[in-house]
Symmetry: C2
Subunit: 550 residues, 2 copies
């Protein structure tokens, strides 16, 4: 029997995973991997950390090379080769050797497209200055390291995941960093209040943050490049990192007539097949299904890319045993200095925009037992479907244990769990690891209390003078860190001081974290008051660093 000819375009995450799995399933196949760049299967998520010096050796990022892939997996890897045309009829791809310029046709029985996505670089004045850099591969990284060697000032444009990682790492290297973001918040993927701790952490490390700022172009001079913002601000730097997003590299797929989605991604079915059944696609260039609420979603991250490549190989070679790619919930995390923040599923802003009826609550607690040394605060926000209580999204921020809570909630969302289910998740508890009631349980408690009408929530303090704002923190703490317009009645004295409040006017209770204010709201509502609690407390709404003790 003639061996199967498998051709893979793109040899990093999705392409490499596909090729490796294909080999494990079929020793006899000819598997050829075409990669435009000089490297395959490198650790692209690690690039910022080598720039900042946390990963000391460049070699640590080069996970595999053509020789090792030949030895381990008997793959025919051709770097420096670009696929320039797909002839679907004849099942062949025209490949150009970028060094020699030679072109040749490679035939295939099955083709995998894993071209990835390129950093967005929009046309604007001065954009072609060589000091304006992006970060996608090891060569980009090398260019940034070279630029950094004689630099003192950098501008990072875009405060998403890569932008934040780059700002942090450049700061580690002693550079003065300006961070520019079009939206009025850093990490626009999250709800605004959930990013304030991150913002405060970046500022505390000297990064100058420019929010709500449109970049209009660059002005070059001999010794610097100047980023011009619509507000009139001009930022001078030795180099600029553009990290405003990525666009899928789908020119080849488009020219081949494969079906593309609304935003230019390759459309695939649940087995990663394109509109041509002999052609698969996976990774940053494709759109898949939103596992939470359906619809198309593009998730340009390493995890999905690797798993999609594996699914495609299974479909090609395992037949009936192949299982579909179930889609993505959109889990992501970023660390900046001592703070992490991330999300899974949908945010409140996304739900509101889509007109979906949702509930939401924000809770605060420590990442492990408060009485055990080293406990660090976490803020956790969850969103659920109003009618069913099904969990739709979660966001978390804090100093430790953020990844754990996101992972638990990503699993819960994937499983279709409800806010009731969160109450009784039985998570690993010993004082160094968690709490008898983990913050995930607390989120379930708070959500079901809202659903059951035990408490009403607000997430801002009204300007309205008829509302009585009651700060139920202890006297000393409330005096040291007062909230404007609030009267302090500590929870411990509330029952004795009910007559100091006007039963005919609405009350909002508040405290540091939103727990004592809930307790107070229960006391007040059972005593005839119309009362709401500030959900998530001062910490989530007013000041993410508010002290919990005097």
């Amino acid at each position: 029997m003639k061996p199967l000819e498998i051709l893979v375009i793109g040899g990093v995450a999705a392409g490499a995973s596909f090729a490796a799995r294909a080999r494990r399933l079929n020793e006899a196949a000819h598997i050829t991997v075409i990669e435009r760049g000089p490297d395959v299967s490198f650790a692209n998520c690690g690039l910022p950390y080598h720039i900042g010096g946390e990963i000391p050796t460049r070699a640590a990022l080069a996970v595999q090379n053509p020789q090792s892939l030949k030895a381990l997996l008997n793959l025919d890897v051709r770097t420096g080769c670009e696929a320039i045309l797909i002839d679907r009829e004849a099942k062949r791809v025209l490949v150009r050797d970028l060094a020699g310029g030679n072109e040749s046709w490679l035939g295939y029985d099955a083709l995998m497209l894993a071209p990835g996505a390129a950093p967005l670089v929009p046309p604007m004045p001065g954009i072609n200055d060589p000091r304006i850099l992006t970060l996608r591969n090891l060569q980009d990284m090398d260019r940034i390291i070279t630029a950094m060697a004689r630099a003192t000032r950098a501008v990072v444009v875009g405060a998403g995941f890569i932008g934040l990682e780059m700002a942090e790492q450049l700061c580690h290297k002693g550079l003065t960093v300006d961070l520019v973001e079009l939206q009025p918040q850093v990490l626009p993927q999250l709800d605004a209040k959930m990013t304030r701790l991150l913002e405060s952490e970046l500022s505390a490390h000297g990064i100058a943050i420019h929010l709500d700022e449109q970049l209009t172009g660059f002005t070059a001079s001999e010794h610097s490049v100047q980023a011009n913002l619509a507000s009139g601000t001009a930022l001078n730097a030795d180099f600029v990192i553009m990290s405003i997003g990525v666009r899928p590299e789908t020119g080849l797929a488009r020219e081949a007539g494969l079906t593309l989605g609304a935003r230019g991604h390759i459309v695939v079915d649940a087995f990663m097949r394109t509109s041509d059944p002999a052609i698969y696609a996976a990774g940053d260039a494709v759109e898949t299904t939103d596992r939470v609420l359906g619809g198309a979603i593009a998730v340009p991250l390493g995890g999905p890319a690797n798993r999609q490549g594996r699914v495609a190989a299974d479909h090609l070679l395992l037949g009936d045993k192949a299982r579909p790619y179930p889609g993505s919930v959109g889990t992501a995390i970023v660390r900046a200095f001592d703070i992490a923040a991330g999300l899974t599923g949908w945010t409140e802003q996304r739900l509101a925009k889509a007109g979906i009826a949702y509930g939401t609550v924000t809770v605060n607690d420590n990442h492990h037992a408060s009485y055990y040394p080293g406990a660090k605060p976490i803020t956790l926000k969850i969103c659920w479907e109003a009618e069913s209580g099904r969990l739709l999204g979660a966001q978390a921020t804090g100093g430790d244990g953020i990844d754990k809570r996101l992972d638990v909630l990503a699993t819960a969302i994937t499983a279709g769990m409800t806010i009731d289910d969160l109450c009784h998740l039985e998570l690993a508890y010993a004082p160094p690891f968690g709490s008898a009631k983990d913050i995930v349980n607390l989120a379930g408690f708070a959500a079901t209390n809202l659903r059951d009408g035990l408490v009403r929530r607000v997430d801002e303090l009204p300007d309205d003078p008829t509302t009585q704002v009651v700060d139920v923190r202890g006297q000393a703490l409330a005096a040291a860190h007062p909230v404007e317009g609030a009267v302090n009645i500590p929870l411990t004295t509330l029952r004795q001081n009910l007559n100091g409040l006007d039963r005919d006017r609405p009350v909002i209770t508040l405290c540091t974290a939103g727990k004592m204010s809930y307790f107070a709201a229960r006391v007040l509502s059972q005593n005839g008051f119309e009362v709401s609690s500030l959900s998530g407390g001062i910490k989530a709404n007013l000041d993410p660093r508010v002290p919990t003790k005097v």
Copy 2:
């Protein structure tokens, strides 16, 4: 209307949670809490850590006291009071003031029994020596601290969760520690091989471990107490900690004629009601439902106790809005020095004993991206229902990220997820937090590979000389840390060396972690060999500390 009389017996985890929730749901009720000891609502899980000095102040463990519970929750807390009789007919409890000896009846509309569990102290010669101690409350802790002050040697009997924590903490304090365990492994709650890393960590810190040893009694002398083991070993110590388990304190419930389970626990329904509808029970004294495979289960841990107390209060006061306690999956974790180990759901030994048809696999990986500094190895074992692939249990051990994987898998088990579902959990990934393919995904991959017949597993090397054992690690590593009886053919040269193996004899492939040996098994099986891979590799089966590099 006459306010509801709510009486709570036991004021620590379940009792305190019940009382607090009851108050939030009903401001008017009279809520009385009877506690035999001098303290309520203390952090019992923190006791070992104050003994060892990690939690420096005793006050950190006293979370609440009668005064603070009065002020915060208007609870009538009576410490030093013991309930000695329940008169169910008249709905009243006879309470004795332990200081004065006065007895009085307290009436109730609803009664909560939260008496907890006491450390097991079996009758044996010399057991009443005052230097033989247990750890349940702050007074026990104080006694241990006093004993420690003039001690240099301690014996800890029982290597379960508390025993391991105590051994670690006593070691921190500079004591010479002997740890005695009846079973042939530490942490008998886990499968034996999953405890070897923990055992090696304890030994590395100088703890002398005596496994498979039956304690027969004690011999007292003026300056020491001697623990006598059935093997003839005698261990001298200044004091002994007995930590061989707990028994539910259900004397009161038994005398009141409430239904008890096979092992003496109070039987409750899904709303924590005992056989008397006016009496609830929660915490270490009750048995609830095993969420994984049904049947009765007693889980004497703080998390379930707190949540059970809350469910009971909801049932009493929320009516239709109350949701049942869904039972327990049995999640637990322990840390000893730099190693953690834990489980959720069922172990292989339990499944085998119960005659349930299961699959199992063990995988190894780092807790975050290997190329990012500080990556620590994890070993993860999962078990699933053979027919359906439904996840039934997970165990993990390693230096970091153990709690996270257990929590994800506890959530997955609770949701009824299968091994296919694990493949596509989308967990938070950035190099400091995880891997593009997390070890949880890898466990799913390995399990489905087994299920789909892509590989066969063994978990020990046969004595049988007809089997060819092939070590596929690199030459230098295999030479530096050889496996007896194995021939070294590095994976990278395997395809060229097939003729060096006998096609008529079975092959077992092995490597450090079980991944390369799987790759090798795929090569060999497609070349006509009958081959199995050592599941979990050398690390999981032969040596948990085997180096991964020369």
